[in-house]
Symmetry: none
Subunit: 249 residues, 2 copies
């Protein structure tokens, strides 16, 4: 196969293949009399590995080092698999973070700067690999512990969302069964709401909660959020929250 075909197959440009040849990362195993590059199946194998490592963020020099370590193909597949799964987890964490922000935004809550930036931590795969390898070796225990702590974080988040949804459900049910918004029962739900915010997001005093209550009917985004659950719920929640604020004061 000559460059053009390989390029089309692998979804890269001819220039890229020239570049890889020049820097010695992937030199075709043959040339025609006219000097045309000829790629063998083994070259394609190598290209495949190169592209995967590149996609994972490794600088080409390190890719070359990895591939010349004399590791067998299965070893590379295992490593690529591990790195891809790390990336999957990381992306999931970012999705969760964005969802959290949407939720917070919908609730009118502002996250702390640390919280917002925490997903942008160490993530350079090359650096990560070298560093952890040095520090912990390649122990499964370490990988396992990382996996589990991330799981916990995710589970926590799911619990938070479930709890929030539960409070909203209780509000909606109270509204549906005709319980007055300023009754004891509705105020108890409002208090649960305040506790929920305090426990998971920030110290929410009764006055702050009162402010939130007002915002729930003034801010159209929040109103929309609650109206979507049940018509009239925004006003209902607002009233209950403010009544509860008075009771707590």
């Amino acid at each position: 196969m000559n460059v053009g075909e390989v390029a089309a197959l692998a979804g890269v440009t001819v220039r890229t293949l020239h570049h890889y040849d020049r820097i010695g990362l992937l030199s075709p195993s043959g040339r025609t009399a006219a000097g045309y590059r000829q790629y063998s199946p083994a070259d394609l194998d190598r290209l495949h590995a190169v592209l995967l490592y590149r996609e994972l963020g490794f600088p080409l020099e390190e890719v070359a080092a990895l591939l010349s370590e004399g590791a067998d193909p299965a070893e590379h597949l295992r490593r690529q698999h591990r790195l891809l799964r790390d990336r999957l987890e990381r992306t999931q964490a970012m999705v969760a973070a964005v969802e959290k922000e949407m939720e917070a935004h919908a609730m009118g809550i502002s996250l702390t700067p640390e919280e917002r930036f925490e997903v942008f931590g160490e993530h350079d795969p090359a650096q990560y690999e070298a560093e952890t390898q040095e520090r912990w070796g390649e122990t499964d225990a370490y990988a396992e512990s990382r996996r589990r702590t991330r799981m916990y974080a995710k589970e926590d988040w799911l619990r938070i969302r479930d709890e929030g949804a539960e409070v909203e459900r209780r509000f909606a049910e109270a509204l549906r069964s005709g319980v007055p918004a300023d009754s004891e029962q509705a105020m108890d739900v409002a208090e649960a709401h305040r506790q929920h915010i305090t426990r998971w997001f920030y110290e929410c005093s009764p006055e702050m909660h009162d402010g939130l209550g007002r915002m729930y009917v003034e801010d159209e985004r929040f109103t929309a959020h609650y109206e979507e659950i049940t018509p009239g719920l925004a006003q209902y929640v607002s009233t209950a929250v403010q009544a509860n604020a008075v009771r707590q004061a």
Copy 2:
């Protein structure tokens, strides 16, 4: 906040912030008398969005365009969420591709070049399919080259294959002696199969195993591998594996 603090918080270098200032992507809203950059919370918001878009692969110029479009924050969050989910899908596809290749490798099956590269970029398979098939598909050279590159870690490799063959032998025997594919006994062999993969290749969850099971009857090369051992074995293994996946869940 001054540059150093912001840099530490966001996990970028000071130089990066200088760069963003220079190109007008993120200019701090203030300066001290001495010329020190002063970042406001709003600047942090913007930086957060910048870093997310950057992470998603947007060139900085486009990030600037996106952010100056005057879209509200929620719009950006929605877009980022969408892009992240796309990325999640793509990564999952790549994980699946690597798993398929490991499986193929373990069985001594070679995938076609198009198949191996298909996760990279979207090219029209029909265009090159016939051609490459003809050229590489079944040639001895291709098989030979693959066989040779596979020889590296010979001893380990032989052990792994022996173990795999043993599992296949147990499957074949169960089939021959009329043990139902969804019986306890067959499922136990399936579980041994899953453990084998986990031990030697990658952490194979029940769902992943379920996916493999389906592949054994959908992909003719895998089917052929099993049918060569005993007619009906592909379907048998597939059923047992899927039954076991249900049991493990």
